[in-house]
Symmetry: C2
Subunit: 480 residues, 2 copies
Amino acid sequence: MSKESPGITVSKNKDFSEWYTQVVLKAELADYAPVKGLIVLRPDGYAIWESIRETLDKKFKSTGHKNGFLPVLIPESLLAKESDHFAGFNPEVFWVTHSGENEIGDRLALRPTSETLAYSMYSKWIQSWRDLPLKINFWNTALRAEIKATKPFLRTSEFLWQEGHTVHATQEEAEKEVMDILEIYKKTVQEELAIPVITGKKSDKEKFVGAVYTTTMESIMPDGKALQMGTSHFLGQNFSKPFEVKYLDKNNAETFAWQTSWGVSWRLIGAMIMVHGDDKGLVLPPRVAPIQIVIVPIYYNDKDADRVNAEADKVEKMLKDKGLRVHVDRRDQLTPGFKYNEWEMRGVPLRIEIGPKDLDKNKVMYATRHIKQKLDLPMDKIESEIDHILEKIQSEMFEAAKKMLADKTTQTSEYSEFRVALEKGCFVDAGWCGKKECEEKIKEDTMADIRVIPFGAGNSGKCVYCKGSSITNAIFGRAY
Amino acid sequence: MSKESPGITVSKNKDFSEWYTQVVLKAELADYAPVKGLIVLRPDGYAIWESIRETLDKKFKSTGHKNGFLPVLIPESLLAKESDHFAGFNPEVFWVTHSGENEIGDRLALRPTSETLAYSMYSKWIQSWRDLPLKINFWNTALRAEIKATKPFLRTSEFLWQEGHTVHATQEEAEKEVMDILEIYKKTVQEELAIPVITGKKSDKEKFVGAVYTTTMESIMPDGKALQMGTSHFLGQNFSKPFEVKYLDKNNAETFAWQTSWGVSWRLIGAMIMVHGDDKGLVLPPRVAPIQIVIVPIYYNDKDADRVNAEADKVEKMLKDKGLRVHVDRRDQLTPGFKYNEWEMRGVPLRIEIGPKDLDKNKVMYATRHIKQKLDLPMDKIESEIDHILEKIQSEMFEAAKKMLADKTTQTSEYSEFRVALEKGCFVDAGWCGKKECEEKIKEDTMADIRVIPFGAGNSGKCVYCKGSSITNAIFGRAY
C-alpha cells in the first residue's frame, strides 16, 4: 500500500457499481489481469478465500468427504456426452486447439465445471455397493468466457470455487446429501460472512443444466439486486446413465447410481463486500478478516514512543497467543489519522489505539469498524474481553444484514405492486402457478426471475401474473 | 477399493517402470485422465499433496510470505516479453484460440509458469521502497504439453505445484531469499518425505530460462536416475527490467528491483513412491500418510467379535484424540490376511492387530510397513508409545534412504570409471572445468548432465572429461 493512495471517492448510495470497484481495488483485494475478464487476487483477497475454504473444508471432511484433483482440460467429445449440459455451457467455453506448434485433434475445453470428467472417472472406480457412497470435493477454478464487463468476484472468466461430486446407492441418500451440503453452505455464509440467505429450490427454468432439481441459497444486495450464493444439485440418474456410473448391488444386480453436485465460489467475497461495505470502504466480519485487530501506537516524542511501542508489542503478543490475527502499524512517518483512514478503508474490524495519556490511566481506546464508536478498555481487561468484542461485532453485522434483507423483501399479490417493488430493488414474495410461461412473461416485463422457492414457502392462492391458482409462493428478484 | 483388486504383480527390481505405474494405480493415488498426458488425483494421492502443502504453507507464512491467485491464461504478447524465457517454454505451451464460437485475437497461453504475469502485476503494485519486499506465493497448477509417455507425478502435462515470486530492494536480500527457500524445501523433503537431497547450484546450461542462477535440490531414485526435487532461482534484474518492476528508493531515485522465483511440485510424491516403495506396494512415511495407523480387529465368532470391536473402538478413539490419522477396518466379509495385504499395498506405516488371545493378555500386536516385523504392545502402553513408534518408522525410513543415496554416489577422476558408474545408475562426483562444451560432450557420450554443483563441493583438480584444470567438482547423473 502506498502513501499516496486516496480513499474511496464515491458514495455507496450514489454510484454502487463504481463504489464496489474502488473498494476492491483500493482495499487491495484484487486487480485486473492483462486479459479482459480475468482478475488477480492480492494477498488480502486470497486470505479471505483461504478462510472460507478452511471452514468449508473442515465441514466437508467431518461429513465424510475427501478432496481430489481433476485436470483443467476436458476433451470436447466428453463434454458433449450429456447434451443439455453441453448446450448450456458451450457458448462460454474456452477451447485449446494447439500445443506448441501442433494442432490438437479433439479440441480441449477448459473446465467450465467438471461433471463430465469426474463421472467418466467415477464409472471406472465404482463397481460394487461397497464403493459407495463416493464423496469427493475439488478445490479448483472454473473457466467460462464472460462477454459482459468484468466485475471482480462477481463476473470473471475464471473463478475460484469448489465443486463437490458425490455418488450414492439410493435416491434418498443422494437427496439427503443435497440438503446436508446446502445446510453447510448456509451456516458458513451466515456465521462466517454474516450474510443471511434464503434457501429453497430453483424453478425448472433456473435449475442447473443436467440436474433433476437445484437447491440454492439467495441473498439480496444493497442495490436491490439478487445474488445466488451457492447451489447444490440433485442430478438423479441424468449423468449416471450416459456416463455409466453403475454398481452391483447386494443382490449382484447392476444398478445406476444417484448423484449430486454442488459448489460455491469467490462470489461470496463479492457479496460480503457489497453487504457490509460503506462509504469509507471495506468492512470485514472478524471471522474472515485477514487482520482482525490493528494496533496503532500514538506518540509525539521519543520518550512516549518507547513506552507506547513497548506496550503495543505486549498487547500484540498477548493477542497473537490467543490465536488472533493482529497487526501493529509501526510506520513512524505517518500520522495516526492517516493510519485510521487506511485501515478503515481496508475493513479491519477492530482498532486499538495506544497513547501515552491512556497508558497513564492503564487503558487503551478501541474503535469498531462496523459502527463508528470509540470506547475505553482497561489494559487488564483486553485479554478477557477481546473475544467477546469480536463476536459482538460479528453478530451486530449479521443483524444489520438481516434487517436489510427484511427491509428489501415485500409480499404482494397485485401485479402492479409487484412491479413497483421490483423497480425499487426488492425481493418480492408472490404466488406462482408453476408455469414457465408466466416466469417468462414476468422476466420480459420486469427483468426479474424466480430466485428461489423457499423451503416451507407459503401459498397466497393466486399466481401474481396470470391470476390462475398458485402452486406455491416464490421469491422474485432481479439478478446481476 | 474393490475386493477383486489384486496386489502388485511385478518386482521393483525387475521392472521398475511397470512397478511404479502399478503402485500409483493400485494404491489408488492417481488415475489417467481421458486426455493423454493428464492424470486425476484420487483422495489418497491428494491427501499426501495436502500434507506437503500444509507443511510448506506454514513455513512460507512464518517467513513473511503471503498467498495470492493468478489466472491460468496469459496473453502471448506478455509471455514473449522476456525472450529467453519464452523460447524455453514455447514448444510446450497449450494455446487457447477460441471462446465459444469466437476467435481470440492475441492467443492465450495456459500458464507454463507465471513469472511474466506476476511481474506485469507487480510493476503496478510496487512504487516505493515501502512496498518491498513483496513476497507472494501461488498454489496452482502449471501446464506444459508433454510429448513423452505419461508418468504420474513425474511427467504430466498439468501438475500441481507452488510458485513463489518475490521482489527485493537489494541483490543481497534477494539472494538470501533464494537460499532461505531452498532450506525450507530441503527440510520439508527430508523431514516429511524422508528423502535425503543434495543442494547446490545448477550449471548455466541447466539453469531456469531467464534466471541469473538456479539453486536446486537433487536426489537419486532406486533405478539410478536423478530427480530434481525443487528449485529456487535468483532472477537478478533479468525480469525487473523488461517488466519495469522498479521502485523509488529512500533518496527518491528510480531503481530496478531484484527478484526470485521458486517452486516444488507433486513430483515430490513420485519421488516418495519410488524411494520407499517395495514389492508389496507403497510405503508411506508416517508424517504424510493419509492413514497413519490401520487397526484390524481379528475374531472368528460373534462373542469375540463384540469384545474385539469394542476394544478397537476404544483404541481408535484414543489415537484420534491424540491427533493421529487412524482407520479401523471393520469390513466383516474379509479375512485379516486379505486386509493386511491391502493396507500394505496402500502403504499404511503401522498396523495394529487386536485379537481375542492378545486381549486376554492385555496387549495388541503391531506390524510396521517399512520393515517386516510383528511386535507386542501392552494395551496400557499404546497411548504413551505410539508417537515414538511412528517417529522411529519415520527416522528409519530416512536412514535407509540416506544409505541408498550414499551407496549410489561414487567419486572418480577417471572418465572410464565415470562412464561405468553412470551406466550402473550412480551419481558421480567428479571434477569439471566449467566449460559448457565438456558438459555437452559428456551428455552425448553418457546421457548424463551436471545435476548439481553442491554447496561446499570439493575440487579434485582436473576436469573428468577434458583433463583441464577443474573449477569445482559437480554431481553428474542421468535424469528422468
